[in-house]
Subunit: 182 residues, 2 copies
């Protein structure tokens, strides 16, 4: 085991690489704890929200959308990007209504999620939504997804079997299972 | 609820942006299911492995390292990048030994994890390591981390309380809790 040490890395310089619609990329030169220099590649992201919607029969409202990066559709809980400066709590309500039409009577935090702390600057805020009132879906013009109701126990089974691989869906379902005893 | 539809997005063209030591960035123009064009920003990553090491007293060997992107140390399970073409099973054993010195007698898959499917191409392979034999840590020259033993029940508590935010650590701990009944 190593001794406890100061692990801080200090920024020496920054090279801006890319400013996109979603991600921003820069490469920083840093000073390591031993005084040596190294580089850190960073893909920054505005952050996002994800909501686990549970109806009165303990079904999850899950969405399937095409994930271009992985060239296949994936089953996930409703989620979306934060607008810069947007309150995550309100953003979760907005994304839930847009993607599924659901408006919750009970809505609470399931904590934060850092998907990949090495190079990716995204933080996701997770929420649990219950007592759902259903109204109309309002998708963005470039958003295409299918919604289905899946029993919570079946979602847990798919998380544990490996069928579900999406981090936010795994964390929200497994946290809800442990916290609510579902 | 929407009708089930074909959600496939087809690549029309690609602009290469950046080839780094770790991530590769490109922006693709795609055809959406309704025939309209849009762009998809992709930060690709070689993938990684993460290992939940449990000793004979059900302590987790956890590592704390400075996460430059978030400008703070984070407590996580041992993990590392895949070399291109490397077998994840072997890579997990290598990273576990390098970071903690542990060599497991029992070693099994905890499934795959896609940290952020929207823009980030990383897939993580998760493993559970038990019956640990301890030898020497062998860190890379630019790797600095502290190792500590934390009771599994305390790791679960920190996952559920929100103190642990790292996706791979949350998923591995909560999966192990559900699968092993710990």
């Amino acid at each position: 085991m190593s001794n406890q040490m100061d692990l801080t890395e200090r920024t020496l310089s920054r090279e801006d690489i890319f400013h996109g619609r979603v991600i921003t990329v820069h490469v920083d030169t840093v000073e390591l704890p031993n005084g040596a220099a190294s580089t850190r590649e960073v893909a920054d992201h505005p952050g996002g929200v994800a909501v686990l919607p549970l109806d009165g029969e303990n079904n999850v409202l899950a969405v399937t959308q095409y994930r271009y990066v992985f060239q296949r559709p994936m089953l996930e809980i409703p989620a979306g990007k934060l607008e810069y400066g947007e309150d995550p709590y309100q953003a979760g309500l907005r994304e839930l209504k847009e993607e599924t039409g659901a408006v919750p009577g009970r809505y609470e935090s399931l904590g934060k999620l850092i998907p990949s702390p090495g190079c990716y600057g995204e933080t996701l805020y997770l929420y649990l939504a219950r007592d759902l009132q259903m109204s109309e879906q309002h998708l963005d013009p470039d958003e295409f997804l299918n919604v289905e109701r899946i029993p919570f126990a079946e979602m847990v089974r798919r998380c544990l079997s490996g069928e579900i691989e999406d981090a936010k869906t795994l964390v929200a379902v497994l946290k809800a299972k442990a916290l609510l005893g579902l």
